[in-house]
Symmetry: C2
Subunit: 340 residues, 2 copies
């Protein structure tokens, strides 16, 4: 076992001072070529690398980004994370991940933990509970301490910081328009009450599309499901009770569950019922028929969030730039569940 070598070790070994070693390795012209060569050779031989922790303490920056997401076993968050990691890595940053597990407390505790020097800034998506409580004091305090935050997807207007969101309402409207174009009038929305603002924005888009096309809004055509469970029974009842020609689901799991139920009932997709989901994950790509879905471009979103954060962290401007909210344009991918 050969433990890491420090400047002090080199200094002692070569009988020079620590400062000389430090300067020599940084190629300072204060040091003679001779000495520099000796020191560099020695350092190289023993594979010297400066200690990140010491550097962090000295420089008051860690080159670490804290990422707090509600869940990692979830295609959308996974892709966003990938985007963050790739951009951050490229810029020489490391990423510390905490999973809030949709819990307010975990979100708060994790962020406070990391905020005490471990990271230079945060990227996060609010937990369900945080949205429900509408309590953002933890974020505000961090911002107050001068720690930059970028919020993505599940954001809150109450928090003054940079944000990256999806044009949820727009794309939901566009999706419903697509269904209407295919001749459907009785269009259902299957949604969740978990992700307040995102779901809300999608619902608004759904309603807007109906309005624009003079289709009366029927609240019975909206089904609100608990998240991620097996909702087969509820969905079956829903389809038996209502004559439905098309469905917009706020995620791909609901969508494939719908498809299953519909096919079970003996109806054909897309001939009898068309379906559109959200999240272009593997479920959408490998279902049969393939699911028309809203691609949320998670990687792009993550990349942009990281870019905004790093830009702010590295900014030397005395007067700070105003906060921006960037909108990622979602794409409706038309596949077999809406077209033949």
């Amino acid at each position: 076992m050969k433990p890491k070598i420090t400047l002090k070790d080199i200094a002692k070994e070569l009988d020079v001072s620590i400062s000389t070693v430090s300067k020599a390795l940084k190629n300072s012209k204060e040091i003679s070529k001779d000495t520099k060569d000796r020191i560099k050779a020695f350092a190289k031989f023993y594979n010297y690398r400066p200690n990140n922790i010491a550097l962090s303490l000295k420089n008051k920056r860690t080159k670490n980004i804290g990422v707090v997401i509600p869940d990692i076993v979830h295609h959308f968050f996974t892709t966003v994370f990938r985007g963050i990691e790739m951009y951050a890595n490229q810029m020489g940053y490391n990423v510390i991940v905490c999973i809030s597990d949709e819990s307010y407390d975990k979100e708060v505790i994790n962020m406070e933990m990391l905020a005490n020097g471990s990271i230079d800034g945060f990227i996060l998506s609010l937990s369900a509970e945080t949205q429900r409580k509408n309590d953002f004091t933890h974020l505000k305090e961090l911002l107050d301490q001068g720690i930059p935050i970028v919020l993505f997807d599940r954001v809150a207007p109450e928090v003054a910081c940079d944000k990256v969101i999806l044009n949820d309402m727009e794309i939901a409207r566009e999706s419903v328009e697509h269904l209407i174009e295919k001749g459907s009038k009785k269009i259902a929305l299957i949604t969740t009450d978990n992700y307040f603002n995102v779901s809300e924005r999608r619902k608004d888009g759904y309603i807007q599309a109906l309005k624009d096309n003079d289709i009366p809004f029927d609240k019975n055509l909206i089904l609100t499901l608990p998240h991620d469970l097996d909702n087969t029974k509820l969905i079956t009842e829903f389809f038996q009770k209502n004559e439905i020609e098309a469905v917009l689901c706020v995620n791909e799991i609901f969508a494939v569950q719908c498809m299953s139920v519909i096919q079970q009932i003996g109806l054909k997709i897309p001939e009898d019922i068309s379906i559109i989901g959200f999240t272009d994950g593997i479920l959408s790509r490998f279902s049969s028929p393939k699911l028309s879905t809203v691609a949320q471009h998670g990687e792009k979103m993550g990349g942009l969030a990281a870019e905004m954060l790093i830009k702010r962290m590295e900014s030397t401007e005395v007067v700070e730039e105003p906060f921006r909210t960037e909108v990622i344009e979602a794409t409706l991918i038309k596949r077999g569940s809406t077209i033949n």
Copy 2:
């Protein structure tokens, strides 16, 4: 903006020494109750929290774990990561993630980066390229420096460290046995050449099961596919060329692609052909019929890896414990793709 407060700030303000403040906050009995109360009140009021970086430098431990995985947009790795994060968090550790993207260079660079003080230990799964090159000097060097490593799933015998693996061969054998029990003899294996040792172990199990049941091994019944692409054409050809009664796929994507092709051809699952996949992800749970699959218990694996790592990191034994290789028992989940 109120910047973080330090011991020095408190000391100056209350006109005591830094050491007194430090001791008071740690409830040292060296300090009088009076002074302690004053200091604690002040610290509480200004929300004092010790700086993690300073602590790390002093204690020579960061309470950070480095996790290096080939890919995050992948159900299995995601669940393992979740297991790691949960256990680590509970034990007061944070997790720094790097994605090697199946690249040897990224794996090496990321690990060297983190090894210079940022983390106390690693949990990793080898990148495809690393396995191909069979070069583990980067791991050996880190171990040599006294940095503990736990390898999971994609491991290498050449590296002397703790490991957590799946009983791949056993469960593959068991899966094929299940297919044989259902009356199948012409059993195909659809595999990938990417993950050398894991795939190899599964293949061994497949062959073993055939041998145990006196079924001749036919190399034409093994289809090797490139990873994660749309292999519909290759699969279709494969099924047209060979009379197949059952299939074992080394992941769930191949399995649902198979199911698609088979249903397209007009055959019934499981009546005409049975299918078993690996990875109990959403694809398996939401396909129709539901896919029989090998649950790899990723969370458990991650939790165990984290437990082994933390145990070793926190061990104060002078003479180190011998390295262990723990085996996670996979479970074959029987669903509609093999039974009615």
